[in-house]
């Protein structure tokens, strides 16, 4: 019923022609998903052009990526009951460095009232060493088989991705690659005004000058004689005079030993003749090796040549940057970016397209803000309208919202992808757009102050900007458990958490709790047990101080507590939150959290690797409302 209603509504807003079109389409493909332009190497340049224009006219840009994996074992996911902002960052960082982005969906969109105009693109990426300079975007990357299997189930074409995926280099890699490739155009070389010449310089200059003069004369002679020249004569001429061709124009190579000589040659050439265009040829290490002088026949010809060279350089840059041009376009537009699970997405984006991830979360946030000043996390918006238990991924959140609110959103996608293309990939970005449109309209109606800005959506959402709320549940949902935890938002200091492990693998939380009850006085107070994974559990003491008592008791060998002593002799171990923080910051990622904690305990590291503010002060784990706020910086 509702669907039909919605449809009706939508049709009303469209003009007659569109209506007909749409009806036809609906008749032809009743269950067709919304079209997303799929972009691979062949249509990249063209799509980039249209996308740039659409970005310029959009209100927001939604992004969503498809990766080869996220968290390698259950506890390495960002868990809201376990992670502070810092540990969440470390976990995301680890994942971002390990896995690869294979699909990157970008969707510039505008919102007015309930109408959304969206232009979705899905780019297929592969980190190929496109330039063959030994700087692949990534030397290797990890794959989780379950992720690949899921992608395969959705019909993802791995062959086309690996054969035809677009490559890229991050900003940092680009500078590196440019150094290695050298600078192709002479014009880039800064011309310093002449300084005093030494005797050696003068000698060098005189020698070069006479060579250039001879060469130019020879070229002119040739032009005058204009006779047909066979290959033998040409190669002989080349041997004797050093005449070579750059394209159709004659050129000459002048060997240089250092930057100084380059300067001298460029300076001399600019005075010598206006028809000469110098090109600096770099050696393997990036230092200049030679100067290639190209002779243009006239002023116009020279301009033409310079334009050609500029084109070559642009092409080269496009080749170097590849997909990153999209990122740069998004970044320079300064438009607000909308994404789901932003911490996870943007650690990936930062590490693949900007620079390696810094060790500290604050540095990451600063660095990210320089590139993307306005980020809107849909997770955070979802939290704003009330606690959602099961909004771990976009479809789930979407379904949930649909049940709770009736907000018709009219999605219009003016650009239609060709019919024969598979358009099912990257549709998640459209769900994100839809979700965002719904959420912003809910937020506007519930918060009166926002309604004052009916036109400027971006401004009205300023208060939600740059706050990341990690989503708790990844692809696979956890088996249902009695969930006492999420019912209300509670904060627990990390000082009141105790990690215990060494119990029987896979023991249920309740059983563990009943095992612990009565073994020590602290357990007579109310406490909670939650499994981080099958090997390790977290005890939460709601009364401060008890955690420390328990840890001390266990450290001292549990004197006077026979039943606790019994458990310890059975192998039970415990530690405070410090050990866990160390696990995350040092990257002691084992499959079982218990193994990681054991490593953390045995490897008592000096503080040197620890960041100063990741130090001793107790932080709060936000119970079910953990957010990272960029504006706190």
């Amino acid at each position: 019923m509702r669907a039909r209603l919605l449809q009706k509504r939508r049709l009303c807003t469209l003009n007659h022609q569109q209506q007909q079109q749409q009806q036809q389409q609906q008749q032809q493909k009743p269950c067709r998903r919304r079209p997303v332009t799929q972009v691979t190497k062949p249509n990249f340049a063209q799509s980039l052009q249209t996308l740039k224009a659409q970005i310029a006219s959009a209100d927001y840009i939604a992004v969503s990526t498809c990766k080869t994996g996220s968290f390698a074992s259950p506890w390495r996911r960002v868990l809201p009951f376990l992670d502070t902002a810092d540990t969440a960052y470390f976990k995301s960082k680890h994942a971002a460095e390990r896995f690869q982005v294979l699909q990157f969906a970008v969707c510039p969109f505008t919102v007015s009232e309930s109408k959304v105009a969206a232009h979705p693109y899905n780019f297929h990426l592969f980190p190929r060493d496109e330039l063959n300079v030994g700087i692949p975007p990534s030397y290797s990357f990890s794959c989780q088989t379950s992720y690949l299997t899921n992608m395969a189930r959705e019909g993802f074409d791995f062959n086309s991705c690996i054969y035809d995926g677009i490559s890229y280099l991050s900003r940092v890699q680009e500078t590196f690659a440019k150094n290695r490739l050298g600078k192709p155009l002479g014009g880039i070389y800064p011309m310093k005004s002449s300084s005093t010449h030494s005797v050696a310089d003068s000698l060098f200059l005189e020698r070069i000058k006479s060579r250039v003069r001879n060469w130019m004369n020879a070229c002119k002679d040739k032009k005058e004689s204009e006779g047909p020249e066979d290959g033998l004569v040409r190669s002989l001429r080349k041997l004797i005079l050093g005449v070579e061709l750059h394209g159709s124009r004659p050129c000459m190579i002048i060997d240089v030993c250092n930057e100084r000589q380059v300067q001298l040659v460029l300076e001399m050439l600019s005075k010598f003749s206006s028809d000469l265009v110098p090109l600096v040829i770099p050696g393997k290490g990036g230092e200049p090796q030679a100067v290639r002088v190209v002779l243009a026949s006239s002023e116009e010809d020279k301009n033409l040549l310079e334009r050609e060279l500029q084109d070559v350089e642009d092409e080269e840059i496009r080749k170097i940057r590849g997909f990153r041009e999209v990122i740069d376009a998004i970044s320079s537009s300064q438009k607000p970016i909308v994404a789901f699970d932003c911490l996870h997405e943007f650690t990936f984006i930062h590490s693949k397209f900007v620079a390696p991830l810094p060790h500290c979360r604050n540095d990451f946030m600063c660095s990210l803000r320089m590139v993307f000043p306005h980020i809107l996390d849909v997770n955070h918006l979802l939290k704003e309208i009330g606690p959602l238990k099961k909004a771990g991924n976009v479809p789930a959140a979407f379904a949930h919202l649909k049940r709770r609110f009736f907000i018709p959103i009219d999605m219009e996608i003016p650009h239609q992808a060709p019919d024969d293309e598979s358009d099912s990939h990257g549709h998640r970005v459209l769900l994100t757009v839809n979700l965002f449109a719904k959420l912003s309209s809910i937020l506007k109606t519930t918060h009166a102050d926002l309604a004052d800005f009916p036109d400027k959506n971006a401004e009205s959402l300023e208060r939600y900007m740059n706050i990341f709320t990690p989503s708790s549940i990844g692809l696979q949902e956890q088996p249902e458990e009695e969930n006492v935890w999420m019912n209300e938002t509670a904060r627990v200091s990390t000082e009141d958490l105790v990690f215990i492990w060494g119990f029987k693998h896979g023991m249920p939380a309740e059983q563990l709790k009943s095992c612990l009850c009565g073994t020590h006085d602290v357990f007579s107070e109310y406490f909670d047990v939650r499994l981080a994974d099958k090997s390790c559990a977290i005890l939460v003491f709601w009364k401060p101080g008890l955690a420390k008592i328990l840890l001390d008791a266990m450290d001292s060998g549990s004197v006077g507590c026979d039943s606790l002593r019994e458990l310890v002799s059975e192998g039970l171990k415990a530690s405070g939150y410090e050990a866990y923080k160390r696990v995350c910051s040092l990257g002691l990622w084992e499959t079982d959290l218990a193994d990681s904690l054991d490593r953390s305990l045995t490897e008592q590291l000096q503080e040197c690797n620890m960041d100063a503010d990741c130090g001793k002060k107790a932080m709060e784990v936000y119970w079910s409302s953990d957010s990272i706020n960029l504006d706190e910086l």
Partner: protein, 698 residues
């Protein structure tokens, strides 16, 4: 029994006319110089089972088998490639790191059978697409593997079908994985039993019905269930008729489960299921809530009526055994491709590979169990699984006859194949290889019309396997091995002429690194004159210093110059860069190593004029240059992390070493024996890394 038709003969001297029109393309192409000369059967999980039964027979009858693997990568970092300066134990560590990180995606197997009547080998090349899909729920949490970008591109270059691999690849479990899965399965069954009892105890402590909706739902279910149950009790004759009169309750269709009336609980949410369970526990002692898996392996939840407590116990038992059986069947299916490896191992046939140490290590790691920490242990374990292995690369280099034949040709598989077996490539045979000595090989194609058969390409596992087999057969013939006299039961493994080549395998691309799989010891390469001339310097590991963290502009010649200035002209035997951040320096004498390390330390501590003008100053520039003896290199290689640059890797490991050292001191504590140990066995003690950073700041 499938009718195997001979489709084409692959030697010039032997050719069979096509018997059916389906084979036309192959005949027409046989005379062209196209390198695609063998058909290879492509196996995915669709046709795996039928292929396996064929393969069983073919392996049993085979004289030898050739194998080849394609992986998603080889090295996790550039410096993990094998170098001249790598000792055997280090080469093994590098192989181990590779094997543990990368996945095998194609497994080529090709049984070769000598057919006396045709005077030819019959080959059955298979390319199995394998993919470590997670098939079991109760297994290790996540399967993950690494892809080396360059290797993926390499595979793509040879038209590797990634879609076939990921979508249709055959999954597998190693023997070790199967064992843990089995024990987990058993323990989880036990758990279920105990937790079931625990349930009974806490029956009173059900979650309270919070919302009105829950209460209403519970009441409705109670009513419906009791209706259904009453209908069963009152109308024992006609359950069916009862159902007809009550068709509004579409959810409650009576079905029979293990001869008992039951209802299927479809279309409820998990929360509703919980509520239903609660209702059953509270109000219906004669109904049982059963979770089961039906024939289509779909999960089912049922309410089953039981006559008595006795009947109920019986039912529980039946369901449990069903579940166990189902899980065991699944486990057996999950073993998947390992059945092939088990088959290869159990038949005890001669296994031939080309440069196959990495392949063997992959096979062991993926299908048998985790790799042991030392190469000696590994050799013993492999010897148990595959007692007879021949590396054709070794074969090509070890025998002088063959060596003369090969002259200075590359011993890479494709060039050896083209050179030794020109008859298959339809190239004019080399004058050195008289025609009569060329061995004939035929590929038998069962059903040419099937899309499973494709003409193989280089670097497809099955195609590489058949090439390896052809090279092996050809070399055997040059060695004078008489295939006719070899009965399949005796096999080539007892052939006298092959004995001295058995189980000698090249461990890596490096010359000279050959391992004897019988003992796990390194085996000196049989050099001839060419090689001896090529072999410049022998590597003496005690004389080597490992340097890293120096300035990136510091080139090998600078390094040599700078060191010879201090230690004399002949002091540096060689300088070898691992990557741009690290180098090996081999000194002429062992003492020079400690001299250098000591000098470096004093220079860094001194920080005065002399240290600035000292010839070594350039090397130490920047204060990040570190140096260590060769043993440290092993430690760095054995780390499970892999940073791209060696200097980064060394620093990461260095961080962990510090911890280790603290621990070591802590453990040895007041024990006097510590000094003693230091003096006697210098090599086995941890070496202190000279930390330029901290030294500089002092």
């Amino acid at each position: 029994m499938k009718a195997w038709r001979l489709i084409r003969a692959l030697s010039l001297s032997f050719s069979v006319a096509p018997k059916t029109p389906t084979s036309r393309s192959f005949c027409s192409s046989s005379r062209t110089s196209s390198p695609k000369i063998f058909s290879v059967k492509k196996i995915t999980r669709k046709n795996f089972n039928s292929a396996l039964s064929d393969l069983r027979r073919q392996v049993r009858e085979a004289d030898f088998l050739s194998v080849d693997l394609e992986m998603t990568g080889v090295t996790t970092a550039p410096w993990r490639e094998s170098f001249v300066f790598d000792r055997l134990d280090i080469l093994y560590l590098k192989i181990k790191d590779s094997v543990e990180n990368f996945a095998a995606v194609q497994f080529g197997v090709c049984p070769f059978r000598w057919d006396a009547s045709k005077d030819s080998f019959i080959a059955y090349p298979y390319t199995f697409y394998i993919f470590p899909r997670k098939e079991l729920q109760f297994d290790a949490p996540v399967y993950e593997f690494l892809c080396q970008t360059a290797s993926m591109e390499f595979l793509a270059k040879y038209q590797f079908d990634f879609n076939a691999c990921i979508r249709e690849g055959i999954s597998y479990l190693s023997r070790a994985q199967e064992a843990t899965a089995l024990s987990r399965l058993n323990s989880s069954n036990q758990d279920k039993e105990s937790s079931n009892e625990g349930w009974r105890l806490k029956e009173g402590g059900d979650a309270e019905l919070v919302s009105i909706a829950d209460i209403l739902f519970t009441e409705r279910m109670k009513e419906r269930i009791s209706q259904w149950r009453n209908s069963l009790l009152t109308n024992t004759k006609g359950v069916q008729s009862e159902e007809n009169s009550n068709d509004s309750n579409s959810k409650f269709l009576t079905v029979f489960f293990k001869m008992r009336p039951s209802i299927r609980l479809d279309g409820f949410t998990s929360h509703q299921h919980k509520l239903i369970q609660q209702v059953i526990r509270k109000h219906f002692k004669d109904l049982a809530y059963v979770r089961t898996v039906d024939d289509n392996s779909l999960k089912q939840k049922l309410l089953v009526y039981t006559d008595s407590d006795e009947d109920r116990r019986l039912l529980t038992k039946e369901v449990k055994t069903d579940l166990c059986k189902g899980a065991e069947l699944k486990l057996n299916a999950a073993v998947g491709f390992r059945h092939v490896v088990d088959l290869l191992s159990s038949e005890g046939k001669l296994v031939v590979g080309h440069n196959c140490f990495l392949d063997i290590a992959h096979i062991y790691n993926k299908f048998i169990g985790p790799l042991p920490s030392t190469v000696e242990e590994f050799a013993t374990l492999v010897n148990k699984v595959f007692p007879f292995i021949i590396d054709t690369k070794y074969l090509l280099k070890a025998d002088n006859v063959i060596k003369n034949l090969m002259k200075r040709n590359s011993t890479s598989l494709s060039s050896a194949f083209l050179y030794l077996c020109p008859q298959f490539a339809s190239l004019p045979s080399s004058p050195l290889l008289p025609m009569q000595s060329s061995v004939k090989v035929e590929v038998q194609v069962d059903d040419m019309s099937s899309s499973d058969w494709n003409s193989g390409t280089k670097h497809e596992a099955g195609y590489d396997a058949i090439m390896t087999g052809c090279v092996f057969a050809q070399v055997c013939s040059h060695l004078g091995v008489d295939f006719k006299s070899c009965s399949p039961s005796e096999g080539l493994i007892h052939n006298e002429k092959l004995q001295k080549y058995l189980n000698y395998v090249y461990i890596s691309g490096q010359d000279g690194a050959i391992i004897d799989l019988k003992s796990g010891k390194q085996f000196p390469e049989p050099f001839d004159l060419y090689d001896r001339l090529r072999q410049r310097n022998t590597v003496v590991f005690q004389n080597i210093v490992l340097l890293w963290g120096f300035h990136s502009n510091f080139k090998p010649k600078d390094m040599k110059e700078c060191l010879t200035k201090v230690f004399g002209l002949g002091s540096v035997t060689s300088v070898y860069y691992l990557d741009e951040t690290a180098a090996f320096v081999q000194f002429s004498k062992e003492e020079l190593v400690s001299d250098f390390l000591a000098l470096k330390e004093t220079l860094e501590k001194a920080n005065d004029v002399i240290s600035v003008v000292h010839p070594l100053a350039k090397l130490l520039e920047g204060g990040k240059t570190r140096a260590a003896p060769y043993e440290v290199y092993k430690e760095i290689c054995s780390s499970s992390t892999s940073r791209i640059l060696f200097a980064e890797q060394a620093e990461t490991v260095n961080g962990q070493r510090k911890i280790w050292k603290v621990e070591f001191e802590h453990k040895s504590g007041s024990e006097e024996s510590c000094d003693e140990m230091q003096s006697t066995s210098r090599h086995h003690l941890p070496f202190e890394l000279i930390d330029a950073c901290t030294a500089g700041s002092q």
